[in-house]
Symmetry: C2
Subunit: 428 residues, 2 copies
Amino acid sequence: MSQHKNVALLLTGNELMSGDTVDSNSSRIALALGERQIAVSKKITVGDDPALLRASLRELCREAGVVIINGGLGPTEDDLTAEVVAEVAGEQLADHPDAIAHLEEWCEKRGLELNASNLKQAHLPASADLVDNPIGSAVGFAVEIEGCLVITTPGVPVELTAMLPEICERVGARVGSGTTYIRRLQTFGIGESTIQELVNARSSDWPEGVVLGFRSGLPQLELKLQVYSQSLLEERNRAETLLTELIGDHIIGEDSDQLAMALQRALLAQGLSVTTAESCTGGLIASLITKEAGSSQVFGAGFVTYANASKQKVLDVPEAELNDHGAVSEPVVRSMLKGALSKASADIGIAVSGVAGPGGGSEDKPVGTVWLAWGTETHNDAIRLQIPGSRERFQILVAAIGLDLMRRQVLNLPAIPHYIKRFVYRNA
Amino acid sequence: MSQHKNVALLLTGNELMSGDTVDSNSSRIALALGERQIAVSKKITVGDDPALLRASLRELCREAGVVIINGGLGPTEDDLTAEVVAEVAGEQLADHPDAIAHLEEWCEKRGLELNASNLKQAHLPASADLVDNPIGSAVGFAVEIEGCLVITTPGVPVELTAMLPEICERVGARVGSGTTYIRRLQTFGIGESTIQELVNARSSDWPEGVVLGFRSGLPQLELKLQVYSQSLLEERNRAETLLTELIGDHIIGEDSDQLAMALQRALLAQGLSVTTAESCTGGLIASLITKEAGSSQVFGAGFVTYANASKQKVLDVPEAELNDHGAVSEPVVRSMLKGALSKASADIGIAVSGVAGPGGGSEDKPVGTVWLAWGTETHNDAIRLQIPGSRERFQILVAAIGLDLMRRQVLNLPAIPHYIKRFVYRNA
């Protein structure tokens, strides 16, 4: 591939160099280009330093057919992009009538006075071809520098996102583009290496031309099935079918679905309602359920009973159980579940009690110990797990496992998949 | 400054180019170096492509006195860093005895068999000087390339973090270092531009040599007061005193303190306990309170009453109030607060009921409307706010405001600072 098909990024901003800001814009740009089969070959990041910016822009213009510059379009003195591009292009800066019109409109809509620092944003290289910014005051622009298309974009993420469709179009027109047909699946409770092993063991069944990718998060792992031609969509579907056969009970949804949404869907399909009785997760499970729009259809009430007294008073856990077995015990989580189902008049529920740490552990019940009870009035179960890691990780994983246990019960899936077996407490 | 004092980063990985991974490692490295007054001048990011990696490494070695490479040290074929460094250094790859010893120990601790792909991680440039990795299997190493110190580091964030002290030491020994004396303050409810204006208006009182920086997040804004010499610590303290004078009620803590921790501290100091009665935030406030270690000292129980029926059944909100005023109303949040204080036997509490959206809005109470009631049995108040934005932003801001209102009451600070005035509902 000729270097004129290369796309490079030049990212600018002192905050990117100091580490105060993590650059997520280049990921946004790359993902949007990737959907059009356009790859980014190189990124250079420098601070707001005109000499370094000029040198880096010259370097990338030699190496690539398109350079996208992100940042430095704002109204302050630190914003050097227009000046640097003009210099490297050998052009003067001039007031751009359309950029001024854009600024006037932008200020008018907000009842603001157009001032000198705003107007700096319309001071662009003479040959600048505007890229519309439907949201912000700073327009982007494109210029040609010795056969290289240079496009400038604002650093504000929402503005960049709004401009990406037009930018991708322009880049595609220069370097060629296609369509990447991406299917995203969300999974829980299974690792990348396990999935890869399962797929490898069936490699002869894996359809040609389908690329499997991973994007890991906590607690979910995203799978990406990609094909580069519409004619391969059938293959992509076959790959998805194979994945479903291999790890179907771990696939909780598509796109950016979260566990709580998977649970909401399962509950809605059967007209069931859910409740929560939380000690160590302190409201996180309820919060995840209600983060999803539409949750009022399945969730009426949840209880955070952190103290022993509140487990008694709010959920009617018998004092004797607390005294005899402790708050982190099977009888107590079973009673918490029973109390919550009754008080919330809910069909299914989850109760958790554990030692999130860093304090509170004992020899019998070290930090990371948790008891979960889940199910309905008549069909419920309990389990003791041991979750290593920080307090934050403990709470995130316990909440996710709690949601997943209910999802599995509602959907009639295996209750204790291998990921839980990994955490199951074994008495030594 | 000579270019031999420059520090550059070379980041490698296809996942960084595709956008599937957002690079946070370079921010980690830059922050750690910044604390020693070492600045990063340039970053180059490329995929797992040997030719591009070689060219980029050669380029950076010409321009900088130190190049830190991040990524590509793993056991797979994609991991090219050792090979590329050896080629650019004009050296052979050879088994490194200390790296093998490290791998053997690492495997033994985990009961694993040392295999061929592990051993690849000990195949290093002949002159490699190891950088210990106290956590992972891949060691880092340093080599000299034409007067430039090249240091390689693993891409796994926890491993990188564990190695950073030694790396900073080595970089400092090469390019010189100092100490940046950083004081971090966490604020809530005030914007960067407002703070800057307030400081500018007192510029004659601002101590010389103290640099004010910002790092914005949702919902908090971090302030950084930096000085570059121990002799300026007194000046830094004076700057902090001035900030406290200007925006003291917005300063909730230091380092990485969260609002919930500020509240916990205030409650502990007065021996008070807290409860929550949440509708639209669905458990988020309780979850934030209990995310903090030590929360069991101040928090016994919280209630998520999402449905009207549960507001009645769980918190004794009178049915007539719900019928006459609706769930999002002053009488209802006041009754929710009263019910929660009583059921949890708590001293102070927060109750929230609102329209998080996207559905559920009406002309009277559009999406973003929220009523909050907070305080004690005898000393409480209620307010209606209108919070624009997404469901997620609404929930985050309402929860933060709820925590802050209680913090302000316990600390006897102004109840309704300007940030809330911005959101106060005005009947047209």
